[in-house]
């Protein structure tokens, strides 16, 4: 059974309970009073618009629309601007809930496949933890030469790279992009320690998530 099927079976008809247990800050979802200030405050909601803006997602969770929520590209539209958080009259940590839902869908393997922000998040995190510090050159190369599934696509990469040529040249000229970063670049000294620390963190996180407790105690 896949992780997704396992979780769906475990929580049967209560997607709200599942979100409360498994999603970062999920225990706040039931506090939403559907005022819509979050949706009206979201910058990407207008360019051209989320499939389901946050308050709609909250209602869908309560209505048990599990698959529609988890497979939606909506949460991946979050720019982490935190406007929804500071404006929410009930102080829901909406940004974190969106991140949490996206991360949960990603963990279950049901998030939309060709979602570019999903791919970029994975690319960014693996870039950052590889040496402890972000390698901006490799990050942008990865962005252009890998598709959303992480597969290398040279043709697409060259096309995208060419479209970005003027931006890259501008940065090179200003000495804000270093071509030699390709050979390594900035990094932490204790990479071994960082890797061991992250391995343990992942292990503990998996353990906590596999043993769902009531939302309030997390």
């Amino acid at each position: 059974m896949s992780a997704n099927q396992e979780m769906a079976a475990k929580y049967k008809n209560s997607f709200l309970k599942e979100v409360e247990d498994q999603v970062e800050m999920g225990e706040w979802v039931k506090m939403c009073m559907q005022c819509g200030v979050c949706s009206g405050s979201c910058p990407t909601n207008f360019h051209p618009g989320w499939e389901h803006p946050p308050q709609e997602i909250f209602m869908m969770i309560r209505a048990g629309k599990r698959e529609e929520v988890l497979t939606s590209p909506s949460m991946w539209m979050c720019t982490s601007c935190y406007n929804c958080i500071v404006r929410c009259p009930r102080k829901l940590p909406i940004t974190h809930i969106m991140h949490g839902l996206a991360n949960y869908a990603h963990r279950l393997g049901v998030a939309p496949k060709n979602q570019p922000t999903r791919a970029f998040s994975t690319l960014f995190w693996s870039n950052a933890i590889a040496t402890g510090r972000v390698n901006e050159l490799k990050l942008s190369m990865g962005l252009y030469f890998k598709d959303a599934e992480g597969k290398i696509n040279i043709g697409e990469g060259i096309k995208k790279g060419l479209a970005m040529k003027d931006v890259a040249l501008g940065l090179l000229k200003a000495r804000r992009l270093n071509p030699f970063e390709i050979f390594g670049g900035h990094k932490c000294k204790d990479q071994k320690g960082i890797a061991a620390m992250l391995k343990k963190a992942r292990e503990l996180e998996d353990k906590r998530k596999a043993l769902p407790q009531s939302g309030a105690s997390r």
Binding site: E24, T79, E136, V167, N178, R218
Partner: protein
């Protein structure tokens, strides 16, 4: 001994040859004038930024920040951590808050840190450089060092998101924070009325969803021109890069003729404090700022 000492967290983008390296150049110059000693946290690591959320999850994200806390506290005890990057500050502050709030998370964090031979004994304070300027110095003291006022120059103070929300600078309003305008004015410049002051630049979506982000960036730049600004100034490395480097693409897409320099507050301060264009990192602009270069000593 320097007047004030901090454990410095420069962040990935401020490193040599990285996208905000000119930010660091100007911060160093500004701190020299203010007699601030920044000691880099030894072997600091990436904060995970906001965009790491999809892959990282909770604990891995928090332990990355916790490692920096432990390193700072061990090597530079008693010093506040100061970040210049908005995302580093936000990410670190968020992790600190979460870890302090939950004994389970604290225990898990310590267990993971042990793998790297580290431990948090005392949780350090996490501050943004803008906070240091406003709270530890105050506008009056910042103004005392001005030798070369930015007279007649008009700036749009683009605060953006992450130094403003969700934490913000104490006493400021989320919808209309004033600290950046006040810094501009303290340096002798003019802060123009600017209705996109706290609009998001798209953040990491500038990479993954460029059309969406560029639509937002267009609004941000347009409003700066509408307010009569000659330059935009910001406290955030990603805001700076996003608003500066895509102007060509936006012009092509929308038929605009944008060509407005985007600077850091620390570059303005360096020039106003009598520093040279080089000391202010003005040679690091993709869109050069000739009016600021012209008055530089």
């Amino acid at each position: 001994m320097a007047k004030r000492q901090y454990a410095f967290y420069p962040g990935c983008s401020s490193q040599k040859g990285a996208s905000a390296s000119n930010y660091l150049t100007s911060v160093e110059s500004m701190c020299k004038t203010l007699d601030i000693q920044l000691t880099e946290i030894p072997d600091w690591n990436c904060c995970g930024a906001s965009i790491g959320y999809g892959e990282a999850g909770e604990l891995p994200r928090h332990v990355m920040n916790a490692r920096n806390f432990a390193l700072a506290e061990t090597n530079l005890p008693g010093q506040d951590i100061v970040a210049t990057c908005a995302a580093c500050w936000l990410g670190a502050k968020e992790s600190k808050e979460r870890i302090e709030h939950s004994s389970q998370l604290m225990a898990d964090t310590q267990e993971a840190l042990k793998e790297a031979g580290l431990q948090i004994k005392v949780m350090p304070e996490i501050r943004h450089m803008a906070e240091v300027l406003v709270e530890d110095f105050g506008f009056e003291e910042l103004g005392r060092h001005v030798k070369n006022p930015l007279k007649g120059l008009k700036f749009a103070g683009y605060v953006g998101c992450q130094t403003n929300r969700p934490f913000g600078i104490a006493g400021e309003n989320f919808e209309n924070p004033m600290y950046l305008d006040k810094i501009v004015e303290t340096m002798g410049g003019e802060a123009v009325p600017y209705d996109q002051k706290v609009t998001c630049c798209g953040g990491a979506l500038a990479f993954s969803e460029p059309d969406k982000a560029q639509a937002q960036i267009k609004d941000i730049i347009e409003a700066a021109y509408d307010g009569g600004a000659e330059m935009i100034v910001t406290p955030c490395p990603l805001c700076q890069a996003n608003v500066e480097i895509y102007q060509g693409h936006i012009n092509k897409k929308y038929g605009t003729k944008f060509n407005i320099p985007v600077l850091y507050y620390s570059q303005l301060m360096t020039i106003a404090y009598g520093g040279s264009a080089k000391e202010a990192g003005l040679d690091g602009q993709v869109i050069r700022a000739p009016k600021l270069e012209a008055i530089a000593k």
